[in-house]
């Protein structure tokens, strides 16, 4: 458990357990979506995303949710190695969860879309975070100081399944197959000459 726990741990643990219990209650349905509960140890839960639409099935990534001090603060969300649980650095990310939104001058025709990445990082090769209301790093960022967690908490913005659904929508659900790249190579065959 994180040593920065300041909320009554029994409260955080109770709310964490509720998230896990509710996931498990519908786990058969979630399995069909490719969502697997891989690791649960308060305050961390790791979910693996598997591509149910491909054959063979492939693991896209893991996602780690840290519910330390929940719900006084929202959970922290990172994409992680599905087996080790080690957070992906920016250069290792399998996806940045892109979505397409209208450009700010939406009244101009034709309407133009621009790519927006939900996984954001501060620079270099650091570990990206899910930049979304309901996620700790979003609300801690100075640019979102007017959009406090307290406005979103009652709506369930930090609920486990809600966050999984969003990550799935912009990540897992967008996978619809494989691409195999074959690179032809020319190689000289040397036949040793007899002495």
């Amino acid at each position: 458990m994180s040593d920065t726990q300041f909320t009554d741990v029994s409260v955080s643990r109770k709310k964490f357990n509720r998230e896990i219990r509710e996931f498990r209650r519908m786990s058969d349905q979630y399995l069909l979506r490719g969502w697997l509960l891989a690791h649960v140890k308060f305050p961390i839960v790791r979910v693996i995303f598997a591509t149910s639409k491909t054959n063979p099935v492939m693991i896209l990534c893991g996602v780690s949710f840290d519910y330390t001090n929940y719900d006084a603060v929202p959970p922290s969300v990172r994409l992680v190695h599905p087996i080790t649980g080690i957070p992906y650095k920016s250069s290792e990310m399998p996806t940045f969860l892109p979505r397409f939104v209208q450009k700010s001058d939406a009244n101009v025709e034709p309407i133009e879309l621009e790519e927006q990445r939900l996984m954001q990082h501060r620079g270099g090769d650091d570990v990206p975070f899910l930049c979304l209301a309901g996620v700790r790093e979003y609300h801690e960022h100075p640019a979102h100081s007017g959009d406090s967690w307290e406005l979103h908490r009652p709506l369930g913005a930090g609920r486990l399944v809600r966050l999984i659904q969003i990550i799935s929508k912009y990540g897992l659900d967008t996978v619809n197959g494989y691409t195999v790249n074959m690179i032809p190579q020319l190689q000289l065959n040397f036949v040793p000459q007899p002495e």
Partner: protein
């Protein structure tokens, strides 16, 4: 009292809620009723999205009959992503 009602489960942000619906009502009405029932009235219904068991978005204008929803069916209602990213 609903005369053509069936009972379904709506999972609201992960929390299963049993509810009786009129099969001739549009899904939008069912969404509003479930949000009211669960106390999730801070955001309008348009900020939520509802999916079927396969993860497909459900058309809010369609009725349960049109979607062929059977008793015991499950729908998934989650708050949309909203503002975020860059």
């Amino acid at each position: 009292m609903k005369t053509s009602g069936i009972e379904i489960t709506v999972v609201v942000n992960g929390e299963p809620v049993q509810t009786k619906i009129d099969v001739n009502d549009p899904i939008s009405k069912i969404v509003e009723e479930v949000l009211e029932k669960t106390g999730n009235t801070g955001q309008p219904a348009k900020d939520w999205e509802i999916r079927d068991a396969s993860g497909n978005i459900v058309d809010l204008d369609k009725t349960a009959v049109a979607l062929d929803l059977k008793p015991g069916a499950t729908l998934y209602l989650s708050l949309k992503a909203g503002i975020g990213g860059s």
